[in-house]
């Protein structure tokens, strides 16, 4: 039976939009980026590979929904993130936000400005040459709720709105998770920087007046530490 053009359009075949060859090539060109994100989300290289493979197969099946000319990477990343959340977090991302290491105020002890400055590499815009492995380890150590948003914001440079849409939560939640995640990350990196001798053994509080304003609660312990060292 001969199909009319109108019927061809109605029919799911032949497939419209991007060809499988073009799709495959474009998807594979994003492999490193996707694997990077998957690696930090799953914290395990073989799980990361499985997650990327699932993502590619799902994307291939849904490729008519992809509009050629738009951002393939962002589209793949959305599928990857959703797959990760659905598979690994059946209970959603809301759980251990209250409990967990973040509830411990000591995890974010006051770090003085000179100390902060010392962690930065004056020659570049980056941190002092900390090994990438250390930074990845520090990321892996922070709870998933926070890790996911830090990876999406800082690695994929997504906007708060894009992250909120992807995770299906309000922008305010994205901001607070991002803040907590980075705070934890910084405190882990700070510990590492001290261990490596990049910064001194005692936090140096550059401007006590400002420090008091920024961290009034912690000033008590700072004073007692200072008194003990004298």
């Amino acid at each position: 039976m001969q199909r009319s053009p109108a019927l061809k359009r109605l029919s799911p075949n032949p497939r419209s939009g991007i060809s499988p060859e073009d799709f495959e090539r474009e998807a594979l060109s994003q492999l490193s980026a996707l694997l990077a994100v998957a690696g930090r989300l799953t914290r395990n290289s073989s799980e990361a590979e499985d997650l990327v493979q699932d993502t590619f197969v799902k994307a291939m099946r849904a490729r008519q929904q992809f509009e050629p000319g738009t951002n393939m990477r962002a589209w793949l990343l959305r599928i990857l993130t959703n797959t990760f959340i659905n598979r690994y977090r059946r209970g959603g991302l809301e759980r251990s936000v209250i409990e967990g290491p973040d509830a411990d105020p000591l995890a974010d002890g006051w770090i003085g400005s000179a100390t902060l400055e010392a962690m930065r590499d004056p020659e570049s815009r980056a941190l002092r040459p900390m090994l990438a492995a250390e930074i990845n380890r520090a990321l892996d150590s922070i709870p998933e709720e926070f890790r996911v948003v830090v990876v999406l914001a800082d690695v994929e440079e997504m906007s708060y709105r894009e992250i909120a849409d992807m995770l299906g939560c309000p922008i305010g939640t994205v901001m607070s998770r991002l803040h907590r995640g980075r705070r934890l990350l910084k405190s882990r990196l700070y510990e590492h920087a001290r261990a490596m001798g990049i910064i001194g053994p005692e936090p140096i509080v550059g401007e006590p007046e400002a420090a008091a304003e920024a961290a009034p609660i912690d000033m008590l312990s700072w004073r007692s530490k200072k008194a003990a060292s004298q």
Partner: protein
């Protein structure tokens, strides 16, 4: 210094480039005078940049992985071609016409009506439009089979066979090799086997093997996956390097492994990760 207290909470948003324009001006003016906030901003930028570099540098796809992905793409395209051929089968043989039950969803019923009403001779293309516009057409019988697997699992009668050595007697009825996976690594206890008729397809049957795992009932089906590719509607997943197809229906999880025309599917109230794991262990 009260500017610090006021502006410090905004610094992170400022670094992210998400601060409202009028606040950006305020922060920038403050940064001119405040070395502490300037160093906070610089540290935030440095952490961002280093994180990005570190995460990206950690991911170098191996040649083997890239190979695996190419194979996965090839398999997916093969599946698509099969599905398209399925669609092109002569109309009289379209399985959905015979397998879709009368009380199916409205869309299906409408397509049914379009294909059986008297306008058929006058507007041959209309039939085709109905068949093609119906999104279920290549997968309706697969969905039906999944439904039957879940139903049978939920209300399974006493098994016909409880003697492991008699399992192979099911083969002529099922038309597939039927083996009894022990699933002992999951502490599974086999309870018996039966032949499950596939509704409206007198010549099609699947074997069901019933297990109990940790107090949960697990029904393993052996079926013709060339005729009923469950992979056409379930969600693909990789478990132990094997492609596994997973879904949930009415609170039960379904996981299938299909190779060389033989499919193994599990229906259970265990969660989908567990059922995918179990079905992936079958060789």
């Amino acid at each position: 210094m009260s500017a610090c207290r006021h502006l410090q909470p905004l610094l992170e948003t400022f670094v992210d480039g998400e601060l409202a324009a009028e606040k950006v001006v305020e922060v920038e003016q403050h940064l001119v005078d405040c070395t502490l906030c300037t160093s906070r901003v610089r540290l935030n930028e440095a952490v961002r940049l280093s994180t990005r570099q570190a995460v990206r540098s950690a991911a170098v796809p191996s040649a083997a992985f890239e190979q695996r992905l190419r194979a996965a793409f090839a398999a997916e395209r093969e599946r698509e071609i099969q599905a398209e051929e399925f669609l092109r089968e002569p109309r009289g043989a379209l399985p959905w016409r015979t397998i879709v039950p009368v009380a199916a969803a409205a869309a299906v019923t409408m397509a049914w009506a379009a294909s059986t009403n008297e306008s058929r001779g006058a507007h041959p293309n209309q039939d085709y439009a109905a068949a093609n516009a119906m999104p279920l057409s290549p997968t309706a019988n697969v969905d039906q089979l999944i439904e039957e697997f879940v139903n049978y699992h939920a209300n399974s009668p006493a098994p016909e066979v409880t003697e492991p050595t008699l399992i192979q007697k099911l083969e002529p009825e099922v038309g597939m090799p039927v083996r009894l996976p022990s699933l002992s690594q999951y502490g599974a206890r086999w309870e018996g086997a039966s032949v499950v008729p596939v509704r409206n397809q007198r010549d099609q049957r699947a074997a069901s093997l019933r297990y109990r795992v940790d107090g949960h009932r697990v029904t393993l089906y052996v079926y013709n996956s060339a005729r009923y590719p469950l992979r056409a509607t379930l969600e693909p997943r990789v478990v132990h390097n094997l492609p596994i197809y997973v879904g949930t229906r009415r609170g039960y999880s379904i996981a299938a492994q299909e190779s060389r025309g033989v499919g193994y599917a599990i229906a259970t109230d265990l969660d989908d990760r567990e059922s995918a794991e179990i079905v992936a262990s079958i060789h």
